[in-house]
Amino acid sequence: MLIALIALGVLAVIIGLVLGYAAIRFRVESDPVVERIDALLPQTQCGQCTYAGCRPYAEAIAAGEADINQCPPGGEVTIHALADLLGVDPRPLNPEHGEHSEKTVVLIDEQVCIGCTLCIQACPVDAILGAAKQMHTVIANECTGCDLCIPPCPVECIHVVPLGTTTGNWSWPMPDKERSEVQQSA
């Protein structure tokens, strides 16, 4: 009995040492987790997650302070990607933070704009071109659709425009919609 205990104990120690050595010697260097989380976020910088941008949200997730389902622009895709990365269960988007919607950009109505630069100061990606008392215009390619410029505008000249599908960005639909399958499973 004693021999068995000693033998097992020695084995456990040896194997533990081997495992510990392997964990250190064969460690795979990877990006810090904050970088990897940030790489999955859509970079809209809208603040709907209650953090001041995507990077602070990524840091909060890494620190365990925020849940992964707080990003409406990212939607289900982002939640699943984060769940995969962090090894947690995916969960539905938290409706407190907003709804997932189609990508939009904003448009400044040039007839109404007064050149106050309040929207320029609000835009998190500097997608609005302009200067004081000069016409402001949105660079549509850079606009992330965060809508942070809309509240500051004193004359309400900024409008949301859905991007829409063209032959250039159309993608083939999933076939299940087209021919009903006998099986309904995913």
Partner: protein, 340 residues
């Protein structure tokens, strides 16, 4: 003018799952007829009971799972599974044997995994193995080949569990050739002696060789009609024959010849009808060769050294386990890419 739209390709397709299953059932007919000729009415009872149970079980499960019932039933896969199970069962087994086997095969081994296309194990074989392990006595009730009870006697035996006139079961049942070989070899007899006995035919077991021959004919017809691919049957028979040959050459008195193995038991039925079940088999071309070969070798091993007279069912189930791994390691080289 306006038109309906749908996706390519737009040519009409003749093939369908139902058509394939129909062809397989047709290919089973010659072998089944021979089976019936040799072993009597019990075969038909088994087929009927197993077939009906399979279809009813599938219908109920589909309703419970809220799937389209008629379309799925009409693809014929449940009926085929029931028939294959029935052909593996001893003809004099009581009626509840095919019922239990069919229920297990369809409900547990097929529908609970997700229905057609999602089952990892061959349903008929899963059902057969459950019966073999749970009811060993009933699974040995084979009549003598060519000398089987008449319709009335069979009916009584199957549905009441005992013979007319209270005869003992031994009066009508007899060991199969494979059973006999195992027993006698175990007792120290040599094959040379056994081969002269009444249980042996030209090549394999008496009567059994004809059944296997007709199943082989059906299988070759299926190959011609392109219902199955050649890889699995050929590699299985090759595997079986090869390992049998090696050991037979080593010691002809203890190890049966390749032709005996090929034409006894469920070898041909297994090679052409059971192992080729596409859902549970390997899917890559090279993977299928290994899959069939593995079944052949395992069949021989279980027959020779295992605890059961015929190893096809267990061999198939074991290789079903290995199929995903085989697929993983035998991926094809894609056009334009270097070696995988």
């Amino acid at each position: 003018m306006e038109f309906r739209t749908w996706s390519s390709p737009h040519l009409p397709v003749n093939d369908s799952v139902a058509a394939m299953m129909r062809l397989v059932l047709l290919a089973l007919l010659p072998g089944t007829a021979c089976f019936f000729w040799l072993f009597g009415w019990g075969v038909l009872f088994n087929l009927l009971i197993a077939g009906v149970t399979a279809v009813v079980a599938e219908a109920i499960m589909l309703m419970l799972r809220k799937r389209a019932v008629t379309t799925t039933l009409l693809d014929g896969s449940a009926l085929l599974a029931g028939c294959l199970l029935a052909l593996a069962l001893p003809p004099l087994a009581p009626w509840w044997i095919p019922v239990i086997g069919s229920l297990f095969a369809i409900v547990i081994a097929k529908q609970l995994y997700g229905g057609l296309g999602y089952n990892p194990f061959n349903p008929a074989m899963a059902g057969y193995v459950v019966l073999l392990i749970s009811f060993p006595l009933e699974m040995t009730l084979w009549p003598a080949a060519g000398n089987h009870p008449d319709l009335a006697a069979t009916f009584t035996l199957v549905f009441s569990g005992s013979l007319q006139n209270d005869l003992p079961l031994d009066a009508v049942t007899m060991a199969t050739p494979m059973d006999a070989v195992r027993m006698q070899l175990g007792l120290g007899e040599l094959l040379t002696g056994l081969k002269e006995g009444p249980l042996f035919g030209l090549v394999g077991g008496a009567g059994w060789e004809w059944v296997n021959l007709w199943f082989l004919a059906g299988g070759l017809w299926m190959l011609k009609m392109r219902v199955i691919q050649w890889r699995i049957p050929v590699s299985m028979l090759a595997g079986l024959a090869l390992v049998a040959l090696v050991f037979h050459l080593y010691d002809p008195d203890t190890y049966a010849s390749p032709q005996f193995h090929l034409f006894s038991g469920a070898a041909m039925l297994g090679a052409f009808f059971i192992a080729t079940d596409p859902v549970s088999a390997s899917t890559t071309p090279v993977g299928r060769l290994w899959y069939g070969f593995g079944i052949g070798v395992l069949t021989w091993v279980i027959r020779t050294w295992g605890g059961y007279p015929d190893g096809v069912a267990f061999a198939v189930l074991l290789m079903n386990l290995a199929a995903p791994t085989l697929d993983f390691y035998t991926r094809t080289r894609v056009f334009g890419q270097q070696d995988r």
